[in-house]
Symmetry: C2
Subunit: 215 residues, 2 copies
């Protein structure tokens, strides 16, 4: 049945908050029970007003959004967080989500995206703006470009295979028995890998393998 969900808005632009409140409350299932113009205000407001969801910007004075997310998560673990921001880059997104946000929507997105995000989050799901989703994929594909152009192709098949096992955290001995080779052979391959890639230690090779997606 129709419980009314209580929402708090946090953004340093009063106009945006006002407009947003108006839009959101067109759906009778939602009620904006408070507004804050910065992180400090948000935290103190939440001390006195209960809510189910916070919709917040990342760029705010006095305790910026990223910090606010962490603080809210610690002090009010049950309250969901939806980030609504103009920050359209991987870093902000990753940090926000890693710090505990449940959703990430851009101010340039259509309003129905925000509405969908709110509904999904209140149902316990996460929501990521398709714009951001596409952005992440672009980053990923670009990283593949770099990976391809750089150096994987100077490795022989055997070397790539060995590298893959290294990347999976296997010791030379294990690799040798898996491939039915002498440990010495594996060592030779590993040495060649190190020489070709200019990496001396195991750790570097593993990192290389993992970042190249060989794992």
């Amino acid at each position: 049945m129709g419980a009314v969900y209580r929402i708090i808005l946090a953004d340093d632009h009063q106009i945006l908050r006002a407009g947003l409140k108006d839009l959101i409350e067109k759906d009778k299932a939602f009620k904006v029970v408070g507004q804050a113009k910065d992180g400090d205000e948000l935290l103190s407001l939440m001390g006195s007003v209960k809510c189910d969801l916070v919709i917040m910007d990342l760029s705010m004075p006095n305790r910026d959004g990223m910090q606010a997310i962490q603080d809210v998560r610690v002090k009010f673990p049950k309250v969901k967080i939806l980030v609504l921001t103009m920050q359209k880059d991987q870093e902000h997104f990753k940090h926000a989500m890693a710090h505990g946000a449940s959703g990430y929507v851009l101010k340039e997105d259509a309003y129905d995206q925000l509405l969908m995000a709110v509904k999904m989050i209140l149902r316990g799901k996460r929501f990521v703006s398709p714009t951001i989703s596409k952005l992440l994929t672009d980053y990923y594909v670009r990283s593949l470009d770099e990976a391809e152009s750089s150096s994987l192709d100077i490795l022989t098949k055997r070397e790539q295979q060995i590298l893959q096992f290294i990347g999976n955290g296997m010791a030379n001995k294990n690799i040798a028995s898996r491939l039915k080779l002498s440990v010495r052979t594996v060592e030779t391959h590993r040495a060649n890998l190190g020489r070709k890639l200019g990496i001396k230690n195991t750790a570097g090779l593993v990192k290389y393998a993992v970042t190249k997606g060989l794992s």
Copy 2:
């Protein structure tokens, strides 16, 4: 001006090829100059018929799609590859793109997605189906969940710091000198890391650090 782009289709379903040819050639800018029912046929066909783009499935008999991509890339580096498949998972996508595909579209996608992919690829861009894009983001967000819930928080600050250096491919000696600690101290921390995380070897720790984003 309007050069006609030459396209070859590779898929083991004849019906699909026929329908696809029909759809594609509705745009007079494209001409399907050949069809193959498997990887071998594709490669031999390309030896005699020039083309700008190959649209291919991944699951084909006689030299599967993944292998075919690599072979095409080696023997005909100028020909672009668009994967059209029902494989809707991260692994197939990653491998296909890593092996040199320029685009990835699902058979369940709307046709205009395929058309857009073809056009973008022929303009030198890459194209990834939004469905896949969303899938990748979901994987990413889920991995954040695991990272958060699992174990990073049972590590002390110093341990996280050490883990980060390990993840960056540094040997104990280097970490020690960087942090102005004894090698033995670093070893102790590393041992504790291994114990807490249940990971025995360096490689595993590096992999852990990298996948947790500590690098």
